[in-house]
């Protein structure tokens, strides 16, 4: 009866589809671990002896420093937006998410360009003030510069999560603290920060994963991390076994991050017994404090979005729009690839989330964990796992052909199919989370009502669940779409020959110091991402009304 109980609730078709998707998601990661026990590559000894320590050091410094800084910046800004009213607050509440529209590698070359000898800052110092300062003051391409770039462009993850958390908090918390004679900064450090610790840590761990995933910034700045090392051993030396070993090491760093997250989050969960809470009321700021808060919030917006965008526009203006046809063709490639892949990923996520909803708690937790796994693993690592898998498949096909004369003519490695598969492994978790929170909002009773009215699981899905999920599907699609548009490491390793997206081409131009051309492509990319962010945030607001 117990077994029957577990199986009966979900329908077998959904379950089988989900099992298939889950196996596909797991293969690349398992593949790496299995291959670890194979023979080491020729370069491994050298890497181990001289380079590994450096990779570990750089990766850890970048990850931890950025995680910490982004946590403070994101949480602080979220608090200012949630608790105070000042001119510009409405705009900034989504404007401060916009830095996410600028991929860090684009931000990196923009800032480097501004600080360089021929850049805006130094030329104006030289020409207007006759100042010839030592170049070491302007050296941006080091660990500190990278940490700045990551923090200013990735902090919105913390900002978003903390802001959403604070929106659910009760006003009486603040009011009772004020009545007990505490000033605002005491309240922030004693009440708000400890209370929202879970959200801040969750956001900050997302930032850390993005940092470890990043290839563009560290490559451009010449900093060796695991991701650049994997690239070097695969592209530079064609040594797959060494890449596999490096990938495992990178996964170790991820486990450290996840462990720290678990530790910091603690087991405590705060919730309210009554569902009827009055949300935080905002205090109107006046005088000096108003100006300080505005300076800080607009300042972050300026450095995280406005300044880099203006610089890009200026460069693009200098190149007079450049090669418009070329820009357009990359934009179309990016748009079609990103849109198509996002649709496929969303379909997969809906299937898994629907099965998870019908399964036991244990099962649905497991499904959630597995789908989200890919997002915590750096793209370069996933790429290695997928390369291994595709090479194995190609071997199977060629074996079939030579031994049994079965004409397959299928080659999967280095095709668009492989790249889209890789996107799915990495971004399925984002789509799954959107669909899942959509389901949570809807609740069970519509599903059950439809069942008692004589409709089966699948019919209910198409007639009730799917139409009601529409907003969640929309935001899931946009989130995955932005991620794929900005994606660099997976695309660089796995793309077919001569296949370029806005992201890869912009990065290539920037690496070749063709910044005017890079600027055109970057602007198109930023425009798409910013538009998607606008749609997501404003769609949510509309629904709240």
């Amino acid at each position: 009866m117990q077994l029957l109980k577990k199986l009966k609730k979900s329908s077998p078709g959904w379950f089988l589809l989900t099992a298939g998707i889950i196996i596909l998601l797991l293969i690349p990661n398992l593949n790496i671990i299995i291959n670890l026990f194979g023979e080491a590559g020729e370069n491994w000894e050298h890497v181990k002896k001289y380079l590994l320590i450096n990779y570990f050091q750089n990766s850890l410094i970048l990850v931890l420093a950025t995680g910490l800084l982004a946590a403070f910046l994101g949480a602080g800004l979220a608090w200012l937006i949630a608790a105070y009213d000042f001119p510009g607050r409405n705009f900034l509440s989504w404007g401060l998410i916009l830095p996410l529209a600028i991929p860090p590698y684009i931000g990196a070359y923009v800032y480097q360009g501004m600080f360089s000898y021929t850049g805006l800052l130094q030329t104006s110092l030289r020409n207007n003030f006759q100042l010839n300062l030592s170049q070491s003051y302007f050296d941006f391409m080091n660990l500190k510069g990278a940490i700045f770039i990551y923090t200013i462009f990735l902090f919105p993850y913390v900002f978003l999560m903390t802001k959403a958390f604070l929106a659910k908090q009760s006003a009486s918390l603040l009011e009772s603290s004020r009545l007990l004679g505490k000033n605002d900064s005491t309240i922030f450090f004693k009440i708000i920060l400890p209370l929202s610790r879970g959200a801040v840590v969750a956001g900050s761990s997302l930032v850390m994963m993005e940092v470890l995933n990043d290839y563009g910034v560290v490559k451009y700045f010449g900093i060796s991390t695991f991701t650049t090392a994997i690239f070097k051993s695969w592209f530079g030396m064609g040594d797959l076994p060494t890449s596999v070993r490096l990938a495992v090491m990178a996964m170790l760093v991820i486990f450290v991050v996840l462990f720290i997250e678990k530790l910091l989050r603690g087991g405590r969960k705060y919730s309210y017994s009554s569902s009827n809470i009055r949300p935080l009321s905002r205090r109107k700021l006046e005088g000096k404090r108003k100006i300080m808060v505005q300076l800080l919030t607009y300042g972050v917006f300026f450095f995280g979005f406005l300044l880099p965008t203006i610089q890009l526009l200026y460069w693009s203006f200098l190149s007079r729009g450049g090669e418009l046809v070329e820009t357009l063709s990359f934009a179309i490639t990016s748009f079609v690839t990103g849109g198509g892949a996002a649709v496929l990923i969303l379909i997969g996520a809906v299937i898994v989330a629907t099965t998870a909803r019908m399964s036991s708690n244990f099962m649905s937790n497991l499904l959630a964990r597995i789908t989200i796994l890919g997002y915590s693993i750096p793209g370069a690592v996933i790429a290695v796992g997928i390369l291994l898998f595709m090479l194995q498949l190609d071997q199977v096909f060629s074996f079939l052909q030579t031994s049994f004369g079965i004409e397959t003519n299928i080659i999967l490695s280095s095709t668009l199919a492989m790249l889209i598969f890789a996107y799915a492994v990495r971004f399925m978790g984002i789509a799954f989370n959107s669909v899942n929170s959509g389901y949570e909002k809807i609740g069970e009773s519509y599903f059950e009502a439809s069942r008692t009215l004589g409709k089966g699981v699948t019919e209910t899905f198409f007639k009730i669940d799917l139409p009601m999920l529409k907003p969640a599907l929309m935001s899931g699609f946009l989130l995955v779409f932005i991620e794929i548009m900005k994606e660099l490491p997976l695309t660089m390793i796995l793309r077919p020959f001569n296949f370029d997206t806005l992201a890869t081409k912009a990065f290539e131009y920037a690496s070749d110091e063709m910044i005017y051309r890079a600027a055109d492509l970057s602007l198109v990319l930023i425009f798409f991402s910013a538009a998607a962010i606008y749609l997501i945030t404003h769609h949510r607001k509309r629904r709240k009304k």
Partner: protein
């Protein structure tokens, strides 16, 4: 006998049974009220009867057909049991008309339309066909939910805390109306409530649960 429940046992987790060896017999046309505090398992009995949960042990027979025992489990959509949910669960993306027609889409278009009109008349909501659930008051939503549930002509009507979302003044009126509708069509009804007054109003056989 319209409903027979024998030795029904169910647990949400392995530790404690929320329903243990529960027995109930309901005659055709009878109204029964399960009354008890929250956590007494009364709503769970309703969900088990509807087929929304799978029993750990015991037997459920509806209109002479075994729908659940040790070897058999008939899914909710095949039981011909109607249920009005506590929050009504009217599909927000469908109009009133389409909500009511949801369970009878196997009928031809004309018959379906006639049935919807008939039910709207029954619950006194004629003219509301094109409205959407969010345009209705709580009491109106309740009536549409009842109409939707009755549309396929179920063997059994289950009401889960049907009056708990209504304010005191409205409650008396709706209780009377629902009672009249049920009496009029003579459907066998099981009602779950934490309030004994509900049972009295509905002139139901009370069963205390704890």
């Amino acid at each position: 006998m319209q409903l027979e429940i024998k030795d029904l046992t169910f647990a949400y987790n392995k530790k404690d049974n929320i329903v243990e060896n529960f027995n109930l017999e309901v005659q055709k046309g009878e109204i029964v009220a399960l009354v008890g505090a929250s956590g007494s398992g009364k709503s769970t009995v309703l969900r088990l009867t509807a087929g929304l949960e799978i029993p750990d042990a015991g037997e459920i027979v509806i209109a002479g057909q075994t729908v659940a025992d040790d070897h058999k489990f008939k899914a909710a959509e095949k039981r011909e049991v109607g249920m009005v949910f506590q929050d009504y669960a009217l599909f927000p993306h469908l109009s009133v008309e389409k909500n009511i027609a949801f369970g009878i889409d196997h009928l031809s278009k004309d018959k379906r339309k006639a049935r919807v009109t008939e039910l709207l008349k029954l619950v006194n909501m004629e003219g509301f066909e094109k409205r959407y659930p969010h345009q209705l008051s709580g009491g109106q939503q309740q009536r549409i939910a009842l109409a939707r549930t009755l549309a396929p002509g179920p063997e059994l009507l289950l009401l889960d805390e049907p009056f708990s979302n209504l304010d005191a003044e409205l409650k008396d009126k709706i209780r009377k109306e629902v009672n009249e509708i049920i009496k009029k069509i003579g459907i066998t009804t099981i009602l779950v409530s934490h309030d004994r007054e509900d049972a009295e109003f509905m002139q139901a056989r009370e069963i205390l649960m704890n």
